[in-house]
């Protein structure tokens, strides 16, 4: 079994093992072991990648190719570059943290972990695929369990949120399907055979007319998952209603599929289309950044605040990608990772607070630092990292994005937009600091809640898992940048 296929096989084996598990204890044990194996594999992959990269100069390494549907030239083709390795690493961390956070799942635990791991399988498969069809299959596999996860184990208006989220994402994938077919039927433009293979298509000069037509479809298809304004409305409702681990996985990992897909499919395969359309979508992305930030200010529900913040921060990823600048791209990838970890931490912490106080309303919360010191302290740290304090991953990401977007070769249009987008940092500080000030440092709202249970070992483990890489990226971003920068080369040839 090759090193990459294991990323699909291990979750599937875990799922099969889960089918035979009985009760919460066995289910969570099996999922924990399975997720730990995945994390081990991801760490191993990072080292293997550096070793392989030294001797292998291809765009993708560890490539494997098996014919699936011969008539359509559909292959099960896999391979990774630095970007996908980084995102695989992120996924394995968040999945494991998610399992720890769901340690006490009261209702239908077995089904919960199975759905969670189906989602993880889809995400892993998506990141390792280099065949459009296979990628599309994994994309849908990742999305559909969300319906059950939110609908069964969620809170609040869960049926509404689950339906809205699923329909919007599946609708987006429907648009994407047309884009994928468009790329497929133009992949013989240079006289070769029709193919779904990303590496082969990237060598083909797809006619400009086709690129112009299919870029928006492909872009929007993926960007909806990346919460592109005005298609972001599923995200706040979905996140607010989802159970903690699902919010973590969804905001932390699943939404990254959007940015990754935009980059890997829409921009890589249709570069002329990207150049042609970037002005339009960059406006939408910029609106999303600012709108999300202001949206977060207005909310009083902790999860909604975080969800809007996600819209803002992921808008930043799309914005950076569309500036068509190498440094900004580097920032976009780091932002994806950083946001994945930080937002997962936020959701985990919110889940812990909610589990103890049974409210997420900030007007009813206060003085958490006194009664829940560990959770409070971590919350403050996460908040500071989130608003881009140096020393954490958020700073590295945003620094790269804004420097890249404002570089010499940027035109006035981009610069104006960049200035607009930079202002969102200030707004972010407003809602984060206000939040921290009110619910962590502020006075106790009621005296009833003075003796809440402290954070348990499994909660601490989950948090620390996410915390370490945040500091790691913040303090020593260079190894990550190196991994990403090299992988950006082929993209640059296409677009710039």
């Amino acid at each position: 079994m090759d090193i990459l296929s294991l990323f699909v096989v291990v979750p599937v084996l875990t799922i099969i093992a889960l089918v035979f598990a009985k009760g919460l204890k066995q289910a969570r044990l099996v999922s924990m072991v399975g997720s730990m194996v995945q994390l081990g594999m991801a760490i191993n992959l990072v080292f293997a990648y550096f070793k392989e990269r030294a001797i292998n100069d291809g765009i993708m390494v560890f490539t494997k190719d098996f014919v699936w549907f011969e008539q359509f030239n559909i292959h099960y083709a896999i391979g990774v570059d630095g970007i996908s390795v980084a995102l695989l690493m992120l996924t394995s961390i968040v999945v494991l943290a998610g399992v720890f956070i769901s340690w006490k799942m009261p209702d239908l635990p077995k089904e919960f972990f199975i759905s969670l791991l189906i989602l993880a399988t889809g995400v892993y498969g998506f990141f390792i695929s280099i065949d459009l069809f296979t990628m599309f299959v994994f994309y849908e596999i990742a999305v559909i369990p969300m319906y059950l996860l939110i609908g069964i184990w969620g809170s609040g208006p869960k049926e509404y949120s689950a339906m809205k989220l699923t329909l919007m994402l599946m609708g987006a994938s429907a648009v994407l399907l047309v884009g994928v077919l468009g790329i497929y039927f133009n992949s013989n433009a240079d006289g070769g055979a029709l193919t779904f293979n990303i590496l082969e298509i990237s060598q083909v000069n797809i006619p400009f007319e086709a690129q112009k037509l299919f870029f928006p479809l492909t872009f929007v298809g993926f960007a909806v998952l990346g919460a592109l304004f005005p298609f972001h409305t599923w995200s706040p409702d979905g996140h607010a209603s989802a159970p903690t681990a699902v919010s973590m996985l969804h905001a932390g990992v699943l939404m990254k599929l959007g940015g990754y897909g935009v980059f890997r499919i829409a921009m890589f395969l249709l570069p002329a289309g990207a150049v042609h359309w970037s002005w339009f979508f960059i406006i939408l992305a910029a609106i999303g950044v600012v709108y999300g930030a202001f949206g977060a200010i207005r909310q009083t529900d902790l999860k909604y605040i975080n969800a809007y913040a996600s819209v803002s921060h992921l808008g930043l990823v799309l914005f950076a990608l569309l500036t068509l600048n190498k440094i900004a791209w580097n920032g976009a990838i780091i932002q994806s990772l950083s946001h994945g970890l930080l937002t997962a931490m936020f959701f985990a912490l919110i889940g812990m607070i909610y589990g103890r106080t049974h409210t997420r309303d900030i007007t009813k919360l206060g003085g958490m630092m006194k009664i829940l010191p560990f959770i409070g302290a971590i919350y403050v740290i996460t908040g500071l990292a989130y608003l881009g304090l140096p020393g954490f991953s958020g700073f590295v990401a945003e620094m790269n994005i804004f420097v890249g977007a404002f570089q010499q070769n940027a035109d006035t249009f981009n610069r104006v937009l960049t200035i607009l987008v930079v202002s969102s940092i200030v707004v972010t500080s407003v809602y984060i600091l206000r939040l921290v000030g009110k619910i962590m440092m502020g006075p106790l709202e009621t005296n009833e809640v003075t003796d809440l249970p402290r954070a348990t070992w499994y909660e601490k483990t989950g948090i620390l898992l996410l915390m370490l890489p945040v500091i790691g990226i913040g303090v020593a971003p260079f190894w990550l940048s190196e991994m990403i920068m090299k992988s950006l080369e082929p993209f640059i040839q296409g677009v710039l």
């Binding site: 549907f69 559909i144 699923t166 599946m170 399907l177 077919l181 039927f185």
Partner: protein
């Protein structure tokens, strides 16, 4: 006519033998042992299904009235497997409700006669044989729809079906007569050489198409569907929605790709509009259905709309994707109908809100239903996704991107109402949830086969390659 050429019709002859054997059995089995007729019929049909898998050579009989080739033979096998699953799923219903009224053999005889008609219809080489096959496949179903004579709604279904079917076949026959008037022949092979797009030919073609469209329940010939499905026994509704529809789609495809190939510039536009109308009507009407049978009726109307996308190509790719999709559709829809049947038989409940909390009491049935609905909605990794994706690929290969786009919009709409059922089963809890029950062996087998089909057909790619090879026979 010698023995070896008769062997080309062995599917038909074998089925006829089974029908006659069942007549004999009905007469000779004593009243107290009438239950065994169900076992006998399933056993005989099982053998028939297995025998069908032996290959058959390409040839024609009766001076070109009866064709057979690998593709037609394969499709007959698909129909056989479908009917076999259907028999397994309806065995309990037959044993508990029908045999006591002394109508067990009658059910099988009517069902098999209809299937025999479909054999002749898809094997037909001229319009006479086609029409005979069409009638033979339709008339027994009307009797089957009215099978529960004591129920008013069932009799109503029978009457509705026979009236609309009669009208449709009349219209179809009128069209055939016009085609005969312009071409001077009723043999497909002769018509191909002389057909041209004169006005009378096109009128004849359109009338003929209307008759077949009734069988596939394409919009605007779909009005009978929901009422008949609701009133007829579930086995019959299931038969109408998968077997009958599958066979009609198949012959429609054959005729379009061979006889009417010259008129492609005409029927392209017709199919374009009809496909869109069918998808949108089916999906939008399905949104608000509460009765599961009506729900599945509209869902199957919408599915027929998707199938039409494959017709737009007029080539081998189109043939392969249609056959592949129909096969997947048969498995998926039979699974859904099977679950509805199982629940209806035990509890008499057929409404969507009766399904609330089903997962917590009957997890296995709910999972089968979920797989079936995911397959119908086209969610990977179950088979329906591959079927739909390939149909869309076929349509896109001819540059119909707008049609594909509208079709995928429809997929999203359909996902909504499929999720409504999943919502009832998984998300909701209820005090009056259907209590746990255990299905009998036949039903469990019937559901198991469909589940295996749904899971395997899509992922196992050689099957598609095989169908693609067979499709050469047509184009």
């Amino acid at each position: 006519m010698n023995f070896s050429s008769f062997l080309l019709m062995r599917q038909e002859i074998l089925l006829l033998t089974i029908i006659l054997l069942l007549v004999v059995a009905e007469i000779s089995i004593s009243q107290s042992k009438k239950q065994s007729i169900v076992h006998l019929a399933i056993f005989l049909f099982g053998i028939h299904t297995i025998v069908g898998f032996f290959t058959i050579e390409t040839s024609s009989l009766f001076g070109g009235m009866f064709h057979t080739n690998d593709l037609i033979h394969f499709f007959k096998n698909v129909l056989n497997v479908g009917v076999f699953i259907l028999l397994l799923q309806s065995a309990d219903w037959l044993q508990e409700k029908v045999v006591d009224e002394n109508k067990g053999a009658e059910f099988f005889i009517l069902l098999f006669s209809s299937l025999l008609g479909m054999y002749f219809m898809i094997s037909s080489g001229d319009f006479l044989m086609f029409y005979l096959g069409l009638e033979l496949s339709t008339l027994p179903v009307a009797a089957l729809a009215a099978f529960e004579v004591t129920k008013r709604i069932s009799s109503e279904a029978g009457i509705k079906f026979i009236l609309s079917a009669g009208l449709a076949s009349g219209v179809s026959l009128f069209g055939i007569s016009m085609l005969y008037a312009t071409s001077g022949s009723i043999y497909f092979d002769d018509i191909i050489t002389v057909i041209s797009s004169t006005n009378l030919t096109i009128l004849g073609f359109v009338l003929f198409f209307a008759g077949l469209a009734f069988k596939i329940s394409l919009v605007p010939f779909h009005f009978w569907t929901a009422d008949v499905y609701e009133g007829a026994p579930i086995s019959v509704a299931s038969y109408l929605s998968v077997i009958s529809k599958g066979a009609a789609v198949f012959i429609l495809m054959i005729l379009f790709f061979t006889v009417f190939k010259t008129l492609m510039h005409v029927w392209e536009n017709i199919i374009y509009v009809v496909a869109l109308a069918t998808m949108f009507t089916g999906n939008l009407f399905a949104l608000r259905q509460q009765n599961m049978k009506r729900f599945l009726a509209f869902s199957s109307i919408a599915q027929a709309g998707f199938i039409l996308l494959g017709l737009m190509t007029g080539n081998q790719l189109g043939t392969a994707t249609i056959v592949y999709f129909v096969m997947i559709y048969i498995f998926s829809n039979l699974a859904a109908f099977g679950v509805v049947q199982a629940i209806s038989l035990k509890t008499g409940k057929e409404n969507m809100n009766d399904y609330e909390g089903l997962y917590r009491t009957n997890p296995n049935l709910s999972l089968v239903m979920m797989l079936a609905l995911f397959s119908l909605a086209g969610i990977p990794p179950v088979a329906g996704f591959f079927g739909k994706f390939f149909l869309f690929t076929a349509a896109a290969s001819e540059g119909y991107y707008l049609l594909v786009f509208l079709a995928v919009v429809n997929v999203t709409i359909s996902l909504y109402y499929y999720l409504l059922v999943i919502r009832a089963m998984f998300l909701r809890t209820s005090d009056q949830a259907i209590p746990y029950f255990k299905n009998k062996l036949y039903m469990r087998l019937g559901l198991l086969v469909t589940v295996v089909g749904i899971l395997v057909i899509g992922l196992y790619s050689p099957l598609y390659d095989y169908i693609f090879e067979l499709s050469k026979n047509l184009n």
